[in-house]
Assembly symmetry: C2
Homo-oligomer: 269 residues x 2
């Protein structure tokens, strides 16, 4: 039982490469039962194969060595379950991400090109809007904006006005991690802004405009497209860009059918 075997035999026993076993020794996942102090030879006992198998199994699940080390160091089965459950969530997110990528590749295949927006210039009319300005991290934008629009619509109704067009979002300032945005809605019949909101006129004028059909998280790419088009046309950006949500996510259902107009005010130079 306490028979010691060198690394080669052990590697054949547990189906791990010698190289991998050495790495697991270095990383503290599986130290040999005995290391000859003179030669440095590693010697393992047969029952260490149990640990080796756990490592091998978890590695086939792509679990990082650091996480495996935690699992091995945890004697409480319930907490092992928690660790595995945490990794399960990691895997689920990864699948979601990949599924999402798959959708986008399929979109590109349908379109026959990686990306093709028709961008034009248009003269936009001045519009009175009620909105609320706030900072948001890029990741939490969907959540925060849902709340914000809800509040804006409620405020319009309470103040006795009525919406005069689809909602829009203005991108006022884009620091790397946190954006300052305004969620606003064109409005009629209001003379004064409710507390915590701002009522103001959006200056009209020339703008580069395009329409994006698809999920909102592809909007970033569309913006870059417009930005580059403006530059290539020799135009000059003139104010914060905004997008107009032409249909309602809660009614449409399928994100691939969401329609958004992107408007970027410009001047001819």
């Amino acid at each position: 039982m306490d028979e010691l075997m060198p690394i080669g035999r052990f590697s054949r026993l547990c189906w791990l490469s010698i190289k991998a076993l050495r790495v697991y020794d270095d990383q503290g996942l599986l130290h040999p039962a005995h290391v000859d102090p003179d030669s440095g030879y590693r010697y393992y006992t047969p029952d260490q194969a149990a640990t080796a198998r756990v490592i091998a199994t978890l590695r086939t699940l792509d679990m990082p060595l650091a996480s495996i080390r935690e699992v091995l160091a945890e004697p409480d089965p319930d907490r092992v379950r928690d660790l595995l459950d945490r990794y399960r969530m990691v895997l689920e997110q990864r699948i979601d991400r990949h599924r999402h990528m798959l959708n986008r590749v399929e979109t590109f295949i349908r379109k026959g090109a990686v990306m093709a927006y028709e961008i034009t210039t248009r003269d936009t009319a001045p519009t009175e809007v009620l909105g609320t300005t706030y900072p948001s991290s890029v990741d939490s934008l969907p959540q925060t904006s849902a709340v914000a629009y809800h509040r804006v619509y409620a405020a319009i109704a309470e103040a006795g006005g009525r919406p005069a067009g689809p909602p829009r979002m203005v991108y006022l300032e884009l620091a790397d991690d946190t954006w300052t945005i305004e969620a606003c809605v064109p409005v009629m019949g209001l003379s004064q802004a409710p507390d915590g909101f701002s009522l103001h006129q959006v200056r009209g004028g020339l703008a580069a405009v395009t329409r994006h059909v698809g999920p909102y998280d592809e909007l970033g790419l569309a913006y870059r497209e417009v930005e580059a088009w403006i530059e290539a046309q020799g135009l000059t950006s003139n104010g914060a860009p905004y997008d107009v949500y032409l249909n309602d996510p809660s009614e449409v259902g399928d994100p691939a059918k969401l329609e958004t107009e992107i408007v970027w005010p410009v001047t001819r130079s």
Copy 2:
């Protein structure tokens, strides 16, 4: 339009890091329109942002740079579509793999441990089997074995015998890439093997036995478990191991409910 801009401005325009742009230059994905031969400064034109955006888009899909280079070099839209379609299949396989890993993690969570087989020794009875021996790569094993069992059952019926137990697979020789296996079925009422098959008696005797519940591709881990257990018990392997398929995949449906017995002949040393 043919205005040249240095890398920093271009990087802000197309939302790619300077470092990434330099890599794309080195890798031949996007060479700057002009490189100053004295200073080495890279200068880009605004319309190069189109290519940059394609790269950025495909990178968000995790496509490797080499594949992106192919896409960019391909002028024919139909062939671009083919390339994207090929990548779509890669993504689909990746999702399948991850979904599969997810299933296994969930199994482990349910079991409360990473792996726990009950392994025992048992005296096995000699059995007469009809089988066919062939080499197969590890990957194509499911396909080849399905065909092989089909042929064996047909041969038994045609020769006038009848099956005397669930089918089994014997692992005769395991080279790294190609295994030599025998697909066989216990049989009664046959005196002579049909052409291309072998009729022989499986020697009984002591064996280490365990039962695996779950998809067949987890069998490898179960085998390692048994192998290590044999070693740890101080027993000696004595002949080719085999597994017995206790229920039928075509009837069970859910791979998580497949039951397989693993039998490994041993002797006490």
